[in-house]
């Protein structure tokens, strides 16, 4: 901390900093009642009571610290540790605060405020000295320019390591591992037969070999109502099974809740609601887009397999999501 008081570092404390009488304050203003009653010169009675309360606070702190040590020693117990630590710290804190309250001066002390800005002279002096140095520099114009240039080049070159932080956002952002013929599996890797999904039930599934990856969670649903497929998706729902990406198109939470009665999917994060029978279009909430649908097939062995990738990139939107 530097002394901003005066160049000489002369003491400013407590005494009125200027020649005149202060409107208020001074270290020992006679006859002024301090706001908090007792002071070093206060009454003996209050002094003793004050000392007793400070001493009690410190004693409590000490006892609690000992208690804390014992609790640790005996293996620890969170509630007791917290309580003892709180008492040890609190006793000390209250003791110090009471000490200040009972036995330290409270009368107001005044300090003058000087203007913060430098005086014109100081600025002038600074400018002169600075410009003197500057003139030495600017005599070598070419060198100044080259130094600037090399600094800028170095700065630019140093930006490149940022590139190492992550791969180029390529196709991965728009596609998932789903391919024609890839089996759907549960989270423990078990492939699924059409009959495994009961009416009005929903299963969370993944492309085989890609369980628990960021963009693969899929909902496999067998709704009791009749599906109203979008044009081109008529063949995507073999045996009454429909599959949608489980990632909300809002900000990507897993759409966890299926209300079988109304055939609605509900996102627990911000309550977006999607209509299962209408291509999972959003009915309510902040999501702007339908959940991408996964074209399904049943393979020769009766397993449910993908007939391609999702109808769009799963999860939240981004700048060029609709570009090829």
């Amino acid at each position: 901390m530097t002394s901003d008081e005066s160049p000489s570092g002369a003491p400013q404390r407590a005494t009125p900093p200027h020649g005149g009488t202060p409107p208020h304050g001074g270290t020992h203003p006679q006859g002024d009642t301090p706001p908090h009653g007792d002071t070093p010169t206060g009454s003996h009675h209050a002094g003793r009571a004050g000392e007793r309360s400070v001493a009690a606070a410190f004693a409590l702190s000490m006892a609690a610290a000992l208690g804390l040590a014992v609790v640790y020693w005996r293996g620890g117990q969170p509630q007791l540790e917290g309580t003892f630590l709180a008492l040890a710290l609190g006793g000390l804190g209250v003791g110090l605060a009471l000490w200040a309250r009972y036995f330290m001066p409270h009368e107001d002390v005044e300090e003058a405020r000087k203007p913060i800005a430098s005086t014109e002279e100081e600025i002038e002096l600074f400018r002169e000295e600075f410009e003197q140095g500057e003139r030495i520099l600017t005599r070598r114009k070419l060198l100044v320019r080259l130094a600037g240039g090399s600094l800028a080049t170095l700065g630019a070159a140093l930006l490149f390591p940022i590139r190492s932080l992550g791969p180029r956002p390529g196709k991965g952002f728009k596609s998932t591992p789903y391919r024609q013929g890839l089996r759907l599996v549960t989270s423990d890797g078990r492939p699924i037969k059409a009959a495994d999904v009961a009416v009005d039930n929903v299963l969370t599934v993944f492309p085989e070999g890609h369980v628990d990856e960021g963009d693969t969670p899929t909902l496999l649903i067998r709704p009791s109502g009749t599906n109203r497929p979008r044009p081109g998706r008529e063949q995507w729902t073999p045996d009454g099974l429909i599959a949608y990406s489980k990632l909300c198109t809002h900000v990507g939470c897993p759409v966890g809740l299926y209300q079988a009665g109304e055939h609605l999917l509900l996102c627990p994060c911000h309550q977006s609601t999607f209509a299962v029978l209408d291509g999972a279009k959003p009915l309510f909430g902040p999501a702007a887009r339908s959940l991408p649908q996964l074209p399904l097939r049943i393979d020769a062995k009766g397993y449910v397999v993908a007939a391609g990738d999702f109808s769009g990139p799963p999860g939240p939107g981004f700048w060029d999501r609709d570009r090829p």
């Binding site: 002390v109 005044e110 809002h250």
Partner: protein, 545 residues
Amino acid sequence: MSPAATPGATAATTPGATPARRRAARRRPRRSRLVTRRVARWIDERVGSASVVRTALGKVFPDHWSFLIGEIALYAFVVLVLTGTYLTFFFRASQQEVIYRGSYAPLRGVRMTEAYRSAIDISFDVRAGLVMRQMHHWAAVLFVAAIVVHLMRVFFTGAFRRPRELNWMVGVTLLILAIFNGFAGYSLLDDQLSGTGLRIAYSITLSIPVAGTWLASLLFGGEFPGPDIISRLTVIHILLIPAVITLLLVVHLALVVRQKHTQFAGRGRREDNVVGTPVWPTFMFKSLGLFLITAAVLAALGGLAQINPIWLYGPFRPAQVSAASQPDWYMGWLDGALRLYPGWELRAGGFEVPAPFFPAVLLAGVTFGLLYAWPFLEARRTRDLEVHHLLDRPRDRPVRTALGVATLAFYVVLTLSGSSDVTATTFGLSINSVLMALRIAVLSAPVVSGIVAYRLCIELQARDRARQAHRAHPEHRAGSAGDRPAGRTSAGGASVPPAALAREPRQGVGEEHQRRQQQPPAEQEPVGHEGHRGGDGERPDARRR
């Protein structure tokens, strides 16, 4: 500490002590003082510290309860660093998959990352680990809360005005960093809740036009969840942001010392002085007491109040989500904004700006942008470019107060919206109607509360005026005004601009701006802010001493 800095040492003896005790008491300090003195001298010969420390110890801090809030924020940060350091000894920032075999039975045999396992171990198998973890989290909660309340104090009293605009901006930066670091902190643990939060953060990053995918990829090291996110967050959380926060705190406090604290008017408190308690010893003891009490409250919370019970959430799985998952309170407004903003997005030519961009990126940008710019916006509007060291009372600045209250109302509604589903289920309402009500409230509450606040200010001003008229002592006034002509060069040769010295009479606010222009404030009768002090503003009697 230099011996010179011990001003008028208080008598060590207490009444009623035996002579022997008293003698001992006199002797003991002398011996220890010799040692202290020698150490102080040794240091001074090498550093020349005496006069500097003396000046520092003589600094004066005005007393007001609202000035303690910033200190609480500082002390919460100290607790964060201490408890956080303890946690780093045990936390493993790794996404390596392991099988849990620790002492928490329900999770035994479960596949999880090392990060999550180490956090569970801290909670169950490290002695005092759980208390430290919970203290750390509570301290984070308190840290941000104290910063926000501190910011409100500074805003409503106009403490950000010239020359303190710079420190206001440092403060806003600290708020942003505190929020970021809190989020980074609870995202480290790789439990279900933090994973969901990270997924949302990732999606918000993605929503940024043009650069979104690049930014997300660089930040997460690839597509979500990314192989490195936990270790990166750890570096950010325990090194990068805390270092910057520490640096900015130093700047923040150095500026407070350099510019000296503001004060409310009254009782000899003027633009050209600062009146309060000196650092040594009273303020230092009180402040140290406050630190310990803050730490004590956090310890009690850490021991007795559960927070973030990650063992109940389970390890993160991208396909799962815990229903009704709530972020820490300081992220609530963002979550609420994401819920209230309808699914409106911009699409053109195959490009799109997805809906979350507006309530998340844009709203946050505008919020913090306006916060940064506020001192300059206000100065521009009121044409008030003077230096101010005396604080405003909120009622005397009805427009500012109303705007502040309206803004607060907006964010309070957003924060409430962050738990709209909980509200709906608690009160048996449909989530749709709750959402609609909140959408209406977020637009209307600011307007209504702003108008109410404005009216209230005017009302309070009128009441002050009435009280003053009732108590007016014309002789007194004339005397004091004549004694010290406002705006004159004040004591010590420090010249303060006249307009800065003058207090303004309370008037209708509509004319606030013009008044400042038309009337040279120096001409005004110094009725000042003494009303709330309960004392006579100028106290001619006090000046006799």
